[in-house]
């Protein structure tokens, strides 16, 4: 009986993974089908023409470049703001902490539609009130950056805050006693300890920004990001160029995943070898 359940669980796991990955396979397959509609049935023959069409698609390339710029800006600002918030919140306590923390976390739960509209309204109204034509107050991707930062900073904050828990504040005391300046304490002691979390935060922020649709859709003005462009393509007559793009993105993801996995296995092997060594040494001592 127990074995039966175990096997059922294994089958379920395999089915779940197939469920997650099959749509990606279908989407990639359609990139090579010689058919005007993106589909894998009926199969009309192998072609790579959608890839050449994709490269010729100027709007897509511009949208792609925009996406990278926005993501880089969001990652940079979110990391700075998120790290500052984590350090600040780590040093306050009581009701202030609860209130600040609650406010920061709640930004993650605000629907993107609300963030998008509110950001758009605030900055354009402010521009109207000031009577300027300064670019900051017009719709555009810079407003998308601000809107995205408003909740992505909270994710960075959480990652950095978790890392701060393992920080030994005594190190800073020692540095101060030995005559280090405040900037040195920050730059040489605190930040190096936080670098892993900051790096992870930057990666999360970058990918969250690429994914973002809701905020961008309401604030972008006339500019495209990849997500918005793909969306407009899917709604109006689509060609399988989107599939070609999807295939390339999935390929990049897979390559990164495989590199990560091989790296992890190599480290696990080294770790295991070290442990075996230690055990042998212990046994020899006895």
């Amino acid at each position: 009986m127990h074995n039966l359940r175990l096997n059922l669980a294994r089958i379920y796991m395999v089915l779940f993974i197939i469920y997650l990955l099959a749509p990606l396979v279908v989407m990639s397959g359609a990139a090579f089908n010689d058919s005007k509609l993106p589909s894998i049935v009926p199969w009309k023959g192998f072609t790579t023409m959608w890839f050449s069409e994709m490269i010729a698609d100027q709007r897509m390339m511009v949208a792609f470049a925009n996406t990278l710029w926005v993501a880089a800006a969001v990652a940079l600002i979110s990391v700075i703001v998120g790290t500052a918030s984590a350090i600040l919140i780590n040093s306050v306590s009581g009701k202030v902490r609860t209130a600040l923390y609650g406010m920061m976390i709640s930004t993650i739960l605000i629907p993107g539609v609300v963030i998008g509209i509110s950001t758009m309204i605030l900055w354009t109204k402010m521009g109207n009130a000031l009577g300027t034509e300064f670019f900051l107050f017009n719709p555009g991707l810079h407003l998308s950056v601000l809107g995205q930062v408003s909740y992505i900073a909270a994710m960075v904050m959480l990652l950095v805050l978790a890392r701060l828990q393992s920080f030994d504040a005594g190190l800073e005391e020692a540095a101060l006693d030995l005559g280090a300046s405040h900037t040195q304490v920050m730059r040489r002691i605190l930040l190096p300890h936080l670098y892993p979390a900051i790096g992870a935060g930057a990666a999360v922020a970058f990918f969250q920004s690429i994914e973002n649709f809701n905020v961008t859709q309401f604030t972008r003005g006339g500019a495209d990001t990849l997500t918005v462009y793909v969306f407009s393509k899917v709604r109006s007559g689509i060609t399988p160029t989107i599939n070609a793009l999807a295939f390339l993105l999935i390929l990049v993801t897979l390559v990164l995943a495989v590199i990560y996995e091989l790296n992890r296995r190599r480290r696990a092997r080294i770790e295991a070898a070290r442990e075996a060594e230690a055990r042998r040494a212990e046994a020899a001592e006895l």
Partner: protein
């Protein structure tokens, strides 16, 4: 605060406070207050803004109650304002999505946390993460291809002989939307539950087994109660993401399915009436917040648990 000053000096502390203030005030609080304020103003031509007609009123909110439609449910026929109806269905189908995600994620989360060989776990998690890295719009697009009238799903079902005629999946009310939402957000349910179950002492399960408890009772009395914070945070995430999703309903929706975010989008982009869009966006925010608060109160979990 004193501590910060002593460690990092006046300049750095001030810089950090300013950064946090910029985030919370300029990017969160003031925009939301502006949204709230604008939602009470009428939509006017530019020349009349600030003029005698520009006064506060509840008119934008009242638009929710415009336009009755006739609907029947379980044999009852009733009249209901179309936007209220849309909103109700959005909440309802977001809940359906949440429940389906839970049912799908819970067994796998348990399996990953307690049964699977710890050595192969990182590989498994990596496999599960792959779809998460592919952007949401492409995942919705993938299902658009699969569910198409002449798409692979119909071809498969026809080939196996389960159905005789192809089915119009994307023209069956909210079916396509729910399918897409589940696929897009199921992992946001899986990982919190997995984290929660992982912290459960396996000895408890073994003790229950030794004392003769049947498997369903072990889950009902031990694993489920222990994983409650994870279930709650996963559910809140999935629910809020579903109710706030604009991509999936726009791509996979049918002619008879309308999501509340789509209504907001239409006010904003098609009617260019930002004030009414604000009012609707505020309603979405308010009602989702109320819903989540009530759910958290019912399940006795705190906001700080969710952030884990």
């Amino acid at each position: 605060m004193q501590d910060l000053l002593r460690r990092y000096g006046f300049g750095l502390t001030l810089a950090m406070c300013l950064l946090v203030a910029f985030w919370l005030v300029m990017l969160v609080i003031v925009p939301n207050i502006t949204l709230f304020e604008q939602s009470f103003r009428p939509y006017l031509p530019v020349t009349e803004v600030g003029g005698p007609k520009d006064v506060y009123s509840f008119n934008n909110y009242m638009k929710v109650f415009d336009g009755d439609v006739e609907r029947s449910f379980l044999g009852f026929t009733f009249h209901i304002p179309v936007h209220v109806y849309t909103f109700g269905l959005t909440i309802f189908y977001s809940m359906v999505t949440t429940v389906i995600c839970f049912v799908m994620a819970y067994p796998l989360a348990y399996f990953m946390a307690k049964i699977v060989n710890p050595k192969s776990l990182p590989t498994l998690i990596l496999l599960l993460f792959i779809p998460l890295w592919v952007s949401e719009v492409l995942r919705a697009f993938a299902w658009w291809i699969i569910l198409a009238f002449k798409g692979p799903l119909n071809a498969l079902l026809l080939g196996v002989g389960l159905i005789e005629d192809p089915i119009r999946w994307t023209n069956m009310g909210y079916t396509g939307v729910v399918v897409g939402l589940v696929y897009t957000y199921v992992l946001f349910m899986l990982f919190p539950i997995y984290n929660a179950i992982q912290s459960l002492d396996t000895n408890q399960i073994e003790a229950a087994e030794d004392l003769g408890a049947p498997w369903w009772k072990i889950h009902w009395r031990i694993v489920l109660p222990h994983s409650k914070p994870g279930i709650a945070s996963g559910s809140v995430m999935v629910f809020m993401l579903s109710a706030g999703s604009l991509l999936v309903p726009s791509i996979l929706g049918s002619t008879t399915s309308q999501w509340f975010t789509q209504t907001i989008d239409q006010w904003f982009k098609d009617a260019l009436d930002w004030n009414t869009a604000s009012a609707y966006a505020f309603l979405l925010l308010l009602l989702c917040t109320v819903f989540v608060t009530v759910a958290m109160w019912l399940f006795k979990v705190k906001l700080s648990d969710i952030a884990k």
